[in-house]
Symmetry: C2
Subunit: 491 residues, 2 copies
């Protein structure tokens, strides 16, 4: 295996791990290491090169994160298919494409759905897992309550009350494997035919999912405070989907007055509900934290959804929905026979993680980490002032740049990609209701990418906009990436 | 704590654990141990009583399984709310009611959805879990492929090919948190409006779920070979939902000829599909194993669903769906952006469980265990010959008794319950299409319990029928329970 011909320069200013990384990367790009080739184990390579195993690990991790190699547990590291990697293809901003292998290689990826995993509390997780499985408790392997383990629901209720001001009784909480599943469950409760009001741009997956399941989605105009409640009435919708803590993707934080208007709208007519998606409220950088909309609700009209995927790790498939009392009967009749989608072991793990104080510590750590990155990025962006303005920066883990010099979104993305930096276009998040929301048989419309709503949009349209997520880049990486963006955009 | 006043008789023929169990059970029933009271730890009680910890564990486990106490990991054992337990309420056969606390106390429960957890391979599971988490692999905590980990999909493909004759390419497999979720995903792909043919009685959850999501369900008559394909044509359905390996709940095994007719029906017209739910094909007691219907399909018309919840443990929330090639494009366009519902750790755990031979060993063990219980139950049922006949006994983990002496289902259930034995009525599994399959707003029909299809049903109707599941009862328990049933029904 020719990896073993690496010669390292221990006097170089380039760290050893980077030398290993570069060598292997070049070998892969040149075809010296073909697709599916197995790399030597970290131990073997470390022995051979007389370096620490950590050094080799870091090199391999970097290669994994850039998609050159993949780690297959119990088997080792293998060279990935580079077919897609080496080709510089046009970038789509549509969500989830990060999963695809058919893409450009980027040195820096400002993904707005990133989560920093370097801070994942491996030791705590491992300990909790070991303790749980030690018990040899048959209980853990029985089918649990479809709503989720009572222990976990009690824990979530306590957390939500303290941290988000949410009034959540454990018996009104439903635990599910991700927000997508909980939205499917909601559709199943109402049986399709929901009349839903959404913003545009919005969380695209929710829009697609609602449309796919025969619901009627109406787009409601936004202003700087979020969804325009005065325009909501005329849509005839009875469910308003909003993200008051940090609208995705615009980053708008809905002020209290608008929240009150929204609650008022819901209370005015029987059967109206607000669906509050509180997907990343844990991270906030400016101003006093605003409690969740649900906490202000006195009329039992808010369906609240939150997740552990953003705050712990994306592969932790656990979200929660707090239903208003008035929907519990519907839930019991129409959706309670859908079995729980989260394993009991995982549920008890998460409950332990919260109850034993790990979650609080982890959140505090992540807040500090993300705030640092947020501050560095804002600092760097000062030099872009002439060509764009920043918005959506007060919370969450991404912000927006709207170009004021006429640069189009497509051009900004292309130029950045040319220097190995990935940024995300806002246009992919605009939705329109021209798509048929129901299909018969198998003839289906293609998902649309561009905004065709023709309405005045608060961001974008009067200047193209890109999203920059900073959760998954170190402060140093952000500085380096910003340097490249300056070269790409300010030349 | 008055638990410590137990006095044990080591010369009694009643085992020590049973004495402990009876004492605590009586204390709880008499109110000596109130709701929420914490029991002494197993170690403490074992020390005090000078018995082994295993003895106390067995007593506690029995109390847990009967719903008197619950185990809360890291906290201990607590007395449950007996409000529901002590009241002898009428029994409903509707699925999932086993979850409810508002029920009769049974000494023996012939639940048809039971899984024996005494045989769960704790050590293997613990070892795999420890090894996985040892790696400190960030990879494990990233959001995975929405279809499931490639490693797991390769493993499932190999297993299905070998064990079930299923032609499953890894790229056509979708891993999801339970069958219910996979059915929701399918509805999302087709966007409601599916025209589905189902049998009656059938798997009730699937029927409810399809109806809830605005699909049109048609009931097709059955005979002793399963769904009558000659009646399928006239329904106008383009998706036939069947369980050829072991129809639930009737236990019918569809003969090869009928399978061929079904495949022929599907091949005849563009856009027709068969949904094969192979939920418990692992267990079969008579005749040669018949490969899955999917394996015979030469026209790319079968959607195949299977699960690890029955074969490993119910709390393992992992099922898989094999899509025909012709539906992959639809999947990618309409459902691939729904994130995976199974955590990466769990997926790699299951992959390891299969790859390292544990699954095969476990299945062989379970086959032997279930076959033993199956044989004992059949032997015991010989003495019931005058009042009922047995059917559906060749596969799976439940069978049916149809009364030939005029006893009604309701009476059989009531009489059995009177002696502490729970059996399940067949009538709850009959479905009818009079229920509106779509609802607007919040006015919903109640789920119906009784068969109103008016068709000739192959089982039941000409004699009421009950289901007896034997997965969760030991051979000795089956013998004891059968004795009680004799007293209940033959008196």
């Amino acid at each position: 295996m020719n990896v073993l011909t690496i010669s390292l320069d221990s006097h170089s200013s380039t760290p050893l791990y980077e030398q290993i990384y570069s060598y292997i990367k070049n070998e892969i790009q040149d075809g010296g290491l073909p697709f599916r080739e197995r790399l030597p184990s970290t131990r073997k390579l470390a022995d051979y090169l007389q370096v620490s195993r950590t050094t080799v690990n870091m090199a391999y991790e970097q290669l994994v994160s850039e998609g050159y190699i993949e780690a297959i547990p119990h088997r080792g590291y293998f060279v990935c298919d580079l077919e897609g990697l080496v080709r510089l293809s046009p970038v789509s901003s549509y969500e989830n494409r990060t999963e695809s292998t058919d893409e450009t290689v980027y040195d820096y990826d400002f993904s707005p759905h990133g989560v920093d995993l370097n801070s994942f509390p491996h030791n705590a997780w491992r300990k909790l897992s070991r303790d749980l499985l030690m018990e040899e408790d048959k209980y853990l392997f029985r089918l649990g309550d479809p709503q989720g383990e009572p222990e976990l629901r009690r824990t979530i209720a306590g957390y939500l009350h303290q941290a988000r001001g949410v009034n959540a009784l454990p018996e009104r909480i439903i635990v599910g494997a991700g927000n997508d599943f909980l939205l499917l469950l909601l559709c199943s409760m109402f049986g399709g035919g929901m009349k839903i009001a959404m913003e545009s741009p919005t969380y695209r997956k929710a829009f697609d999912l609602f449309c796919n399941l025969s619901n009627e989605v109406q787009i409601v105009e936004m202003d700087e405070a979020g969804m325009r409640v005065d325009r909501l009435e005329e849509t005839g919708a009875w469910l308003a989907y909003v993200m008051p803590s940090h609208q995705y993707p615009l980053g708008t934080v809905m002020p209290v007055k608008r929240r009150m208007q929204l609650l008022h709208w819901a209370a005015e007519k029987e059967g109206r509900y607000i669906l509050e998606d509180d997907y990343d409220s844990e991270f906030r950088y400016k101003g006093k934290p605003i409690p969740a909309l649900q906490g202000y609700d006195r009329n039992d009209r808010v369906i609240y959804i939150g997740t552990f995927s953003k705050s712990i790790a994306p592969s932790i498939r656990a979200s929660y929905m707090v239903l208003p009392e008035s929907l519990m009967d519907l839930y019991r009749r129409r959706a309670r026979n859908i079995s729980s989608t989260v394993s009991r072991v995982d549920q008890m793990l998460i409950a332990g993680f919260l109850n034993q104080g790990y979650y609080e510590r982890h959140l505090n750590k992540m807040r500090a980490v993300y705030r640092g990155r947020h501050d560095v990025l804002l600092e760097e962006l000062k030099s872009f002032r002439e060509i764009c303005r920043v918005s959506g920066e007060n919370a969450g883990v991404h912000l927006l740049l709207t170009f004021t010099n006429g640069m189009t979104e497509e051009e900004a993305i292309r130029r950045a990609a040319g220097l190995g930096v990935r940024v995300y276009g806002l246009s992919g998040y605009y939705v329109d209701t021209l798509r048929t929301s129901s299909v018969s048989g198998h003839s289906l419309p293609l998902p649309s990418g561009q905004c065709e709503c023709g309405m005045a949009c608060p961001s974008g349209r009067n200047g193209d906009t890109v999203l920059l997520g900073y959760a998954n880049l170190s402060e140093q990486e952000i500085r380096k990436a910003a340097k490249r963006l300056r070269r790409a955009w300010l030349r």
